[in-house]
Symmetry: C2
Subunit: 444 residues, 2 copies
């Protein structure tokens, strides 16, 4: 019997700890994976991959107390050596190696991808086929640190705004947006679906906590095979009560984006540099009506409006181009989407019920958010369902929530992988999805 | 066209903002849901439910500029009135109502549950059937704020320990622990499953970031119908590389629990008080071998050991009782579980391969965590699979990761709803699951 009393102190140092060591010439211990070995004859550079970056370790024949051949790429090792300053080395430090201890060895050191190159110049498919190896590349893994920063900023910002985090079920008997595009399965001899959105649940929880959010997977059985679509993705969702209008929701998202950029600058500067990212200006984001921007784009780019009630992908591109040229913004809110294009719970514009009090946020030509005000009145919901020929069956619990009172509210959902993609400058959403699921990919 | 420039300043005040108002007698605006109305004749108390708690508002005939009958329970309203101190009121403040504005009205004000009572004295089933209403009760919703605190502490603690957050897919072609207890579905004409754990993915990511975590749903098609089992739950998972032994994993969990208790004391004091929770002492947590504690329990409680390689639920109870009586701890790590009871990836004890370098954490008689060291050597993994008669097919990508080198590592998974349940003193895990999924429940 023993007692555990908390996190154990480690003998080995991380890069930030090495940088904090007072004075050079001290003997230190470090560990890591052998990222690459550059043999220069009497001297060799053994570069360790550590979670905080690369660490240059110097082997010198006659000084180091082991043979260079004892260590190879893809080993994980522990090194004892002397810490030195070297402005040419990553982070300006290196370790003069004295002794090593092999922690583990690869069965096959011929890597399927050249992960130690600065850029992995290979196809998306090759990267995905060797995903867990490809991500060992410093630039590849940096993208998902940026993704971490986004999720973290979303949560921390919303906690600060009085939101409560919730966990809603992904298995259900019924889904928010009707019967299309649902993955179906059998649940103990009953038909079930995977939720394509936490929509109904987060609305129900507004009656409990006023403001709620969730960061969780959603599932869409859409047969799209594009660079923008995934069949499983992480949705950053929030819903807020006591709004004066859907502008409150857009304002909250703007606040989140501002918080995000500050957090990235502060805590993810290393990754921004690795990926050579210039953060967008989000001090003010233009919002423009759907019908108005269609008209503006049509005029400016001499383009005929084919369908006044729909946006084509090319139009989304042009709207973003317009916003950049006219208002200097990479982001643009497009508001008042046509009612036909929005789900039953969307609040129609009382001034023109062909449109809704809703919005999309476009970022460099890509829709990354859909949101808006929701119907909070029980009878209005029943009427909307009836007008659409939808059944109340399966929505009983949702509707009962409104029967017993709900404040005016609205919310949004952000596609995490899409936002990451645009932020890091990729053009395929698979590049910013750890293990993407699409029409042809269910593994790894 | 307009510009959004960030979160909008609200005119209405939250409870913490009211408490910060300098001096009483000021006119303020607040909003909220009418939780209950107590009519005392010339005076009535209109109690608002707000996200930070209850707020007492006082209606006085002749002073308030509206009729009491204009407001009813389950309305959401905005109030203008005068802020006063009253030590008998919740938080020591109340609002003398001057005028109101109705924001929304219920279609039916007869609530299915008496949510304004202090305790909802009704069955678990009734609570779940009216879940979104039941949670409007102040004690019910407090449980899920504690749950938020747990997830938040888990993430914040691990960020501080150099972990990276990941999002792994829930749809897959193959799962970690073999073929049993999986939900199956069709994925574009291919057979697919829902992951019962992020195990294989988080291990693969150790080769990338050294330390990773995920907080996400997992799915288990187990036909258990008990107070401890769910078919979908939130798993708090982490995996860490460069460990000296599985004790490092237990030490990290102990550190998390210590961080959690401090966070709850600091940021969730209100909820701890509402639920009358005394936090457990986690300054030191005993760890004892599986075979040893079975023997000790057998001797102390005069109980015959039926199966030396398995733990019965009653034994888990008695182990916790033993840990409390002998070591004064609500928590106890049980280590070195029999190899037969652990999945293929568990590292066997080199000193006795009938046992593994693994552990469970029991909290007041309930297993809330399973963890341990994993095999990191490619050949050892192949041998283990062969010894179990398992196929490599479907594990190719996982195995390739090890082929190209992996550090010694280990990790764990914590059941969020179970930890919440024990912390808030419930005896059914459905009480601490927002919308539980079990053998009979797929809705709401």
């Amino acid at each position: 019997m023993e007692f555990l009393t908390g996190v154990r102190q480690k003998e080995t140092l991380e890069i930030s700890e090495l940088l904090a060591v007072d004075g050079e010439g001290q003997t230190v211990k470090v560990n890591g994976a052998v990222h690459t070995i550059r043999n220069m004859g009497n001297v060799a550079f053994v570069v360790l991959r550590k979670r905080e970056g690369l660490l240059q370790c110097v082997y010198e024949e006659g000084v180091s107390k082991f043979a260079l051949k004892d260590v190879k790429e893809a080993d994980t090792i522990e090194i004892e050596g002397v810490l030195e300053q070297n402005e040419k080395a990553p982070n300006g430090i290196e370790i003069r190696m004295e002794s090593i201890r092999i922690l583990s060895e690869p069965a096959d050191e011929r890597m399927p991808l050249a992960i130690s190159k600065w850029k992995l110049n290979t196809s998306v498919d090759a990267k995905l086929n060797y995903r867990s190896i490809a991500l060992r590349n410093i630039r590849e893994r940096a993208k998902f640190k940026i993704q971490e920063g986004i999720t973290r900023a979303f949560r921390d910002f919303l906690y600060g705004q009085g939101f409560t985090e919730i966990h809603t079920p992904k298995l259900g008997a019924k889904s928010a947006e009707g019967g299309a595009n649902l993955f179906r399965l059998e649940y103990f001899h009953r038909p079930a679906i995977l939720q394509q959105s936490p929509q109904l649940y987060k609305q129900m929880m507004v009656g409990v906590y006023d403001r709620v959010f969730e960061t969780a997977p959603v599932f869409r059985a859409e047969k799209h095979n594009t660079k923008r679509h995934l069949n499983e993705y992480t949705s950053l969702d929030f819903e807020m009560g006591y709004i004066d209008g859907f502008e409150d929701v857009m304002a909250m998202e703007t606040g989140f984006l501002q918080y995000l950029m500050e957090l990235l600058k502060k805590d993810y500067a290393k990754e921004l540099k690795i990926l050579d990212i210039t953060l967008p200006d989000v001090s003010k984001i233009p919002a423009v009506r759907f019908d108005e921007i269609k008209q503006k784009v049509s005029e400016k780019y001499d383009r005929r409006i084919k369908n006044p009630f729909d946006l084509e992908p090319e139009e989304e591109q042009l709207i973003s181009q317009y916003a950049k040229e006219e208002w200097g913004s990479d982001f643009v809110f497009v508001t008042h989407y046509p009612s036909k294009k929005r789900p039953f719970y969307a609040m129609d514009d009382p001034e023109d019920s062909r449109y809704t009090l809703s919005f999309d946020l476009l970022y460099k030509g890509l829709e990354i958010t859909t949101g808006g005000q929701r119907i909070h009145d029980y009878q209005m919901l029943l009427d909307k369902l009836a007008a659409r020929g939808m059944e109340e069956e399966g929505l009983t619990h949702y509707l009962d929530t409104f029967k017993h009172g709900m404040p005016p509210h609205g919310g949004l959902g952000i596609g995490l992988e899409r936002l990451t993609m645009k932020l890091v400058g990729e053009d395929n959403v698979r590049e910013t999805t750890l293990f993407p699921r699409d029409l042809s990919r269910l593994e790894p």
